[in-house]
């Protein structure tokens, strides 16, 4: 069993009749940079808010740093840094005032690190937060959440809407802390995530569909192209793990989400003995994400609507 800093079991959250989290199972290993990806509305922010005890779960359980997330309060937040794209900050305060103010809450506040972060992020200490740009506000939030060297940094869409320069600065800041801190972040900005995340989880429609190490994920997903001599035809029933299958004149294409190297190659050759060639190309994270998202949508379209959805359709 891995040493997880975040662990959820059957975590559920509903807002009225709308079920936003539908039994999340997740384990974030200690020391990892875990990226939770998913389309807008997948439930990433809600899950993070439940983990941070900002929202109360409707069911299941979740632990953060060994504590039940419902018990996260007070000094337990000395171990956790949380930055969110839509977080309200004490806008009336100047950056320096905010740092002065929050400093007193943390016994392990590192003033030298604070100075370094201020310098690194080029923060204007004498300007009010409400007068800062979005990027500057995020950097100020980062600085105030990193200077006490938390064991866990939870970042909700930290890079959304930032210009490339600020993104690079923030990513650099994150990576510099990665040796001492587990970083759990949500994003739909896959190109950046791919460059530094060690683990990735994919969330869709309130569920985590997969959670894996980045390397293993790259191994597991393959874009398979099978060229036949005659007319290519997909199997009537797609095997589990095959996504987005499509057939051209003599070419079959699909995404294999459970590719196991040579073993999977053999299986494909046995299934398609008449194939002229079988190619299984590694996929970038972005392509994996898109494949998962499209596949999910396709499946939802094929499923009969649930009662509430039926009512919506009627309406």
């Amino acid at each position: 069993m891995i040493n997880a800093v975040i662990r959820t079991e059957g975590l559920r959250k509903s807002f009225g009749r709308t079920e936003v989290l539908r039994g999340i199972e997740l384990a974030v290993p200690e020391g990892s940079i875990y990226a939770l990806v998913g389309a807008n509305g997948a439930g990433k922010t809600t899950m993070i808010k439940v983990l941070m005890n900002i929202l109360r779960p409707s069911g299941g359980r979740s632990e953060v740093l060994g504590w039940d997330s419902g018990a996260l309060t007070g000094e337990r937040f000395c171990e956790i840094g949380y930055v969110s794209e839509n977080q309200e900050l004490p806008d009336a305060m100047k950056v320096g005032e905010m740092l002065d103010y929050v400093r007193a809450f943390y016994p392990r506040w590192d003033c030298a690190l604070e100075r370094e972060l201020v310098r690194q992020f080029d923060l204007p200490l004498d300007r009010r937060l409400k007068h800062l740009s979005r990027g500057m506000r995020m950097k100020a939030a980062f600085a105030s959440s990193m200077a006490y060297r938390p064991k866990l940094m939870v970042l909700d869409e930290p890079l959304a809407g930032l210009d490339p320069l600020v993104r690079d600065e923030l990513i650099e800041g994150i990576l510099e802390r990665a040796t001492e801190t587990t970083i759990f972040l949500s994003s739909h900005d896959l190109s950046e995530i791919e460059s530094f995340a060690s683990h990735v989880g994919y969330m869709e429609d309130g569920r985590v569909l997969f959670s894996d190490e980045m390397g293993a994920l790259g191994e597991r997903f393959r874009e398979v192209t099978i060229t036949m001599d005659g007319t290519a035809r997909l199997p009537d029933e797609m095997p589990p793990g095959w996504l987005l299958g499509e057939a051209g004149d003599a070419v079959l294409r699909f995404v294999h989400s459970a590719y196991r190297g040579e073993a999977s190659g053999r299986e494909l050759r046995e299934r398609f003995p008449a194939a002229r060639s079988i190619e299984a190309e590694p996929m970038p994270l972005r392509a994996i994400f898109l494949a998962m998202a499209k596949s999910g949508r396709r499946q939802r379209k094929m499923q009969p609507p649930q009662s509430s959805e039926k009512e919506k359709v009627k309406a």
């Binding site: 808010k49 941070m52 005890n53 900002i54 929202l55 309060t73 007070g74 000094e75 337990r76 937040f77 000395c78 956790i80 949380y82 969110s84 839509n86 977080q87 309200e88 900050l89 004490p90 009336a92 305060m93 103010y101 929050v102 007193a104 809450f105 943390y106 939030a141 939870v154």
Partner: protein, 518 residues
């Protein structure tokens, strides 16, 4: 404690403008309020604007300050930065409480103390009196505002909710007063404190829920339940007012000897000529005054008529009507035989129904028995003079007729009902006729005697006054020519304590309601 002070310091630095606004409003209040007694009695009534200003500004400044300080760490929503910081909720609540104590209660108490001092009354003389005063301030202002702020996300939302609460409260109290049909009783209702306690308990519960769990739905339900319970309690109190007054004032037969005897005065058969209606602004009511003889009060005692209830029976069956208890004109009776005019109120509809018929009139008086107790003598002065156990009076307007001696006492320790007596001295004014014998002056000083609306008890000093007419053995004199209330004259202040309460009744058959004066 470190975190509490840290948050408190932050809030103080951040909201210094709002704090300054409240302190300014309170200063204005402390400066303007003494005008209630520093002006001549004639000018006193024109000081309402001076009072109105701080009475609007102070609550408004409190409202703003409470909203700002509670919303600084808003308990509603899921985007607040402080939610994921090492705030201890109990310490956050404590920090807000310290802020409110330091910047609302303390300046308020200081302003009240300054007013008391200005009035010549010691703020420390009735220390225990501060607690009910602060409880009322909490129930009528601070706690409900804080609870509403804790359930709302910003000032605009809070304002909306507050208006809703005010509308519900006005609606509830109006609804509650309907059964009384405009008949206001003077009998103090100590159960009104129940409403205060309900509001305080409900507001504290809302604050606890919000600061401990941030469950806005639960807190909102508690707030609605509190408002419903407070309104319901107020309505229940109103609905049971009649029976509770009956319980508080048992019939004289049940208590033994009546403390006062009463009888209708006037003609033996029909004394409509002695009774009369009183012109009133109210179109739906008719006020009727009848002469009543009071006698049989024991030496060293007095009685006060608090409320009156009238029952009218017409000549035919079913013609019967009873008014609720109603606060008539103030009547206080000393030993001896005294003719007084008792006033009662009728719905116009009932008046029209009975006015041309001979009716049987029953009057029931709710009477408080008083016993003379402590006696203090003060020396009349041309300026302010202190009266032990009573307050401060001023002899600046003795030249008026009747001589006026405004007095003021501390709301923190109300003096009991006090009878004041003094003697006029003769001057050598040529042509003035003064009857032989002593010329006395007596008056009841009812400063602070009556229960008033609870929120008015927030005012630390309530001015009253003595009207002293000259009396000789032959009756009241019509002028003070040849007389003066000279500084240096001794004034006797006799305090009366309540010893019991009872109902006394009188009945008159063949009574003709007086025709209406136009």
């Amino acid at each position: 404690m470190k975190q509490v002070l840290h948050i408190f310091r932050k809030d103080t630095r951040r909201f210094w403008v709002e704090i300054l606004a409240l302190v300014t409003a309170l200063s204005l209040y402390a400066v303007l309020y003494p005008s209630r007694w520093n002006y001549s009695p004639e000018a006193m009534h024109s000081q309402y604007l001076n009072l109105l200003l701080p009475q609007i500004l102070v609550p408004a400044a409190c409202w703003l300050l409470i909203a700002r300080v509670i919303h600084a760490e808003s308990l509603v929503g899921d985007r607040q930065w402080w939610l994921t910081r090492p705030y201890e909720r109990t310490k956050l609540l404590a920090a807000k409480a310290v802020f409110i104590v330091a910047w609302i209660y303390a300046p308020f108490v200081i302003a009240e103390a300054v007013i008391l001092k200005e009035a010549g009354l010691s703020p420390l003389a009735h220390f225990a009196g501060w607690f009910p005063l602060l409880a009322i301030a909490s129930a009528y202002g601070v706690l409900p505002l804080t609870a509403i702020a804790a359930m709302t996300v910003n000032f605009a939302r809070m304002t909306l909710v507050l208006f809703g609460v005010v509308i519900v409260w006005i609606g509830g109290t109006s609804l509650a007063s309907i059964p009384r049909g405009g008949y206001e009783s003077r009998v103090p209702d100590e159960h009104t404190l129940l409403v205060v306690l309900v509001v305080i308990a409900g507001a504290l519960l809302v604050l606890f829920i919000q600061f401990a769990t941030r469950r806005v739905g639960v807190a909102g339900a508690v707030a609605v339940a509190t408002a419903a319970l407070a309104t319901g309690t107020a309505m229940l109190l109103t609905a049971t007012r009649e029976s509770r007054i009956d319980l508080r004032y048992p019939a004289a037969s049940a208590t033994g000897t009546a403390p006062v005897q009463v009888a209708f005065a006037g003609g033996s058969v029909n004394f409509a000529g002695d009774s009369r209606t009183i012109r009133s602004e109210r179109q739906d009511k008719v006020y009727i005054e009848v002469p009543v003889m009071f006698f049989g009060v024991a030496e060293g005692s007095a009685v006060e008529v608090d409320d009156v209830k009238a029952t009218i029976d017409g000549p035919s069956r079913g013609m019967h009507w009873t008014t609720p208890w109603w606060a008539s004109n103030i009547l206080r009776v000393l030993p001896g035989q005294h003719l007084q005019h008792v006033e009662f109120m009728l719905d116009r509809e009932q008046y029209e129904r009975f006015k041309s018929l001979p009716v049987t009139l029953h009057l029931t008086l709710a009477v408080t028995e008083l016993r003379a107790g402590g006696d203090t003598t003060a020396v009349l002065s041309g300026g302010d003079f202190a009266v032990n156990g009573f307050g401060v009076c001023t002899g600046r307007w003795l030249y008026r007729f009747p001589a006026s001696i405004p007095c003021r006492s501390s709301e923190l320790g109300r003096p009991p009902l006090t009878r004041v007596s003094t003697a006029w001295t003769r001057t050598d004014e040529p042509g003035a006729y003064v009857p032989p014998g002593p010329i006395t002056a007596e008056a009841w000083a009812d400063t602070n005697y009556y229960e008033r609306e609870l929120f008015l008890r927030l005012l630390p000093v309530w001015p009253g006054g003595l009207s002293l007419s000259p009396h000789s053995a032959y009756g009241e004199l019509s002028s003070t020519r040849g007389l003066e209330l000279a500084p240096g004259a001794p004034m006797h202040f006799t305090q009366y304590t309540v010893t019991g309460r009872t109902q006394v009744s009188l009945m008159r058959p063949n009574f003709q309601l007086p025709s209406e004066s136009r």
